[in-house]
Amino acid sequence: MKQMWTVLKQEYSNRIRKRSFIVMTILGPVLSLCVLFIPIYLSLDTTERIHVWLQSSAPQHLNGNYTDQTFIFHPIPEGRISDVEKEFMQQPDKADVLVYYTIEQGRVVLWDKKGLSTAEQWKLKNKIQDIYTKELVSRYLPQHATAPAMQYIPLAEEKQYADLLQLTGLFCAIIIYFFIFYYGVQVMKGIVDEKVNRVVEVILCSVKPFHWMMGKILGIAAVCLTQFGFWTMIYIWIGSKFNHRYGDAITQFNNENIQETLRVSKDAWQAMEWNVFAQSFETLPLMKIGVCFFIFFILGYLLYASLFAAVGAMTDNETDTQQFTFPITAPLFITFLFAGFIISDPDSQLAVVLSYFPLTSPVAMMLRIPFGVSAWEIAGSVAMLATAFVLSVYMASQVFKRGVLQYGKAMSWKDLFSFGKK
């Protein structure tokens, strides 16, 4: 027991004195506060309030003033829903969302012409529900006092199938993050390993340091692509099996044959929504997503791999690498912390900035692309990422040349930034 305590004290004493621990202890709270408050601050941007047209099957009861800071409600006291719908669609402005209550059936339909963000949808649905339960039903029609079933119909083309788009963006971003991090670290570990095993001198008498570094980076990239290709084939195979098994069942629930069912049953609505979701894959710009994924993945990996190669050259054991890997991986990690914000508002300032900054763009841009990003924006981000890659390779090769034969003491940050000096 005493020996365990001795080991514990030694381990604690060793690690608490490390520079990386001290830096993180101070930076940690600062970073977490930034993560919390930056999105809130950016979302406080004043934007135009959303115009919501309200109608119900008992329109005479829609006579309250429901307007708040986010929504301006326009109750429609009379008229048939089909006429109102037509007018709503033709209205060029001040007609963002149309809400129709069918009180007798306990359901609400929302037609969204503007393309609300996830946060805005959530807010509006809560407001709609409040109006329904606290105003319409409790005051006038208590016999219908159940929570209404809501159907959300996005009409803005780029906002249709928002759930799927978010999932797709998140999936691509996670895959990129995983591969960049995992294989980038492999580059670093390989170099540290070769230093530890003293193979470095044998290699360097045959190969220039730059060629050696690039050979390792590209070799590991090939491994990564092989694995990814294999995964893709597996997913396609699973998808084809799934489609073979369930495809017909899903496509049964199409508009033509459940029109009547929709008016009656909530379950059918859910089936319809599942049908919409499943069929929505056909609307995804898969080619664009695929090509962008490949480009951002390759360039992102190359950028990070060269940085990791430099870190590997600077140290001769894995423990010393930690002080250098944290600042390199922090941007990607922080991007993921902001992922929820980016996918809920892909055109926000934060999302746009992160999708241009090279260290965050591989993840941030993939989160945004499914929602529709213009070709010039993508091209600009790719250009910046490619430039950053070239610069990082140059810098890494300089560090590599200086550090790869150094043993016994890790290069310091001062050594790193003095590499340009003779």
């Binding site: 070769e194 095993n197 003293r198 193979v199 470095v200 001198e201 044998v202 290699i203 360097l204 008498c205 045959s206 190969v207 220039k208 034969l405 003779k422």
Partner: protein
């Protein structure tokens, strides 16, 4: 004989530490250069400059008459003092990798590596993972990795380190065999006995500078103090009593002397024959070990 390597006034500094200071060398083809010096003298840095692992701050290096460049890497083989191989890789796979890095095709690499494994009698280890081998076996693999591509210039830094006497003899014979087939060799070591046996030229470095350079016998002759090794029966002439540097009694009423005399050796021999029985008489040149210690101490003063 043609020159394979010429070094002209190269200097290399690491920060404020001068590792090599104005070193020059001309190395003939098919010679064996012994590179001597104490720890930290600059030997390894010089070898790294020749193999282009590091670049000089000033001065030039020439290989086969042309300035040292990338294409010369594959014509050199290097066995570093700090042994290093991929521990998790199989033996032949590793040798083939190094051979291909140095310009051989896959087929040639396989053929050459197999031949060398047979020559060193370790062909049965070809598919073993390196970390399962003994230290001596790993050293042999490392040696093969330096020679597998038939380099014109072979650079060996302490090649016998880690070998038992039997295996050291095997490696020495292979080095001599390579020399006989035309390979030029630079051989860095602290083992003075092997230097005297093997080397055709010497370069001694201390504190980044050259302190001795030339053919071994010529260097020893240069520092000849006039010593004579004598095995003698009888009373030594009186005038030689003060010339005794060393004296040792042997069996059979013989005495071994080391004499330091200014007399001509013929005269000295005649004098000794007249007074007693001479069993052995030879000029005693300083050994490389003695020269090494003398010069290191002198430089350090």
């Amino acid at each position: 004989m043609a020159e394979i390597l010429r070094i002209q006034n190269i200097t290399k500094t690491f920060g404020t530490h001068v590792a090599i200071d104005q070193v020059s060398l001309s190395l003939k083809k098919n010679s064996i250069l012994g590179l001597l010096g104490p720890n930290g003298a600059g030997k390894t840095t010089l070898l790294r400059l020749i193999t282009q692992i590091v670049l000089p701050d000033s001065g030039q290096l020439f290989f086969n008459g042309s300035p040292l460049n990338e294409s010369h890497r594959v014509k050199m083989g290097y066995l570093p003092e700090e042994r290093g191989l991929y521990r998790k890789m199989r033996v032949q796979e590793q040798l083939m990798y190094f051979a291909q890095l140095r310009g051989l095709s896959a087929k040639e690499a396989k053929q050459q590596s197999s031949e060398w494994l047979q020559r060193l009698q370790i062909e049965h280890l070809h598919s073993q993972v390196l970390e399962t081998l003994s230290k001596g076996q790993q050293q042999k693999i490392q040696f093969i990795s330096a020679v597998v591509h038939k380099p014109e210039l072979l650079i060996l830094d302490e090649p016998f380190s880690g070998f038992d006497p039997a295996n050291a003899e095997v490696i020495k014979n292979e080095i001599l065999s390579l020399h006989q087939s035309g390979t030029t060799i630079i051989y860095s070591t602290h083992r003075m006995d092997t230097v005297e046996d093997v080397c055709t030229e010497l370069l001694m470095i201390n504190k980044a500078k050259v302190v001795l350079q030339g053919e071994p016998h010529a260097i020893r002759k240069q520092f000849d103090k006039g010593y004579v090794r004598l095995v003698y029966s009888g009373t030594l002439p009186t005038q030689l009593q003060s010339a005794i540097v060393e004296q040792r009694l042997l069996e059979g009423n013989k005495t071994s002397y080391l004499l330091s005399s200014s007399l001509d050796r013929k005269q000295l021999l005649q004098m000794l024959i007249n007074q007693g029985e001479v069993h052995h008489f030879e000029e005693h040149l300083p050994s490389m070990h003695e020269l090494f210690l003398d010069h290191v101490n002198k430089t350090n003063e």
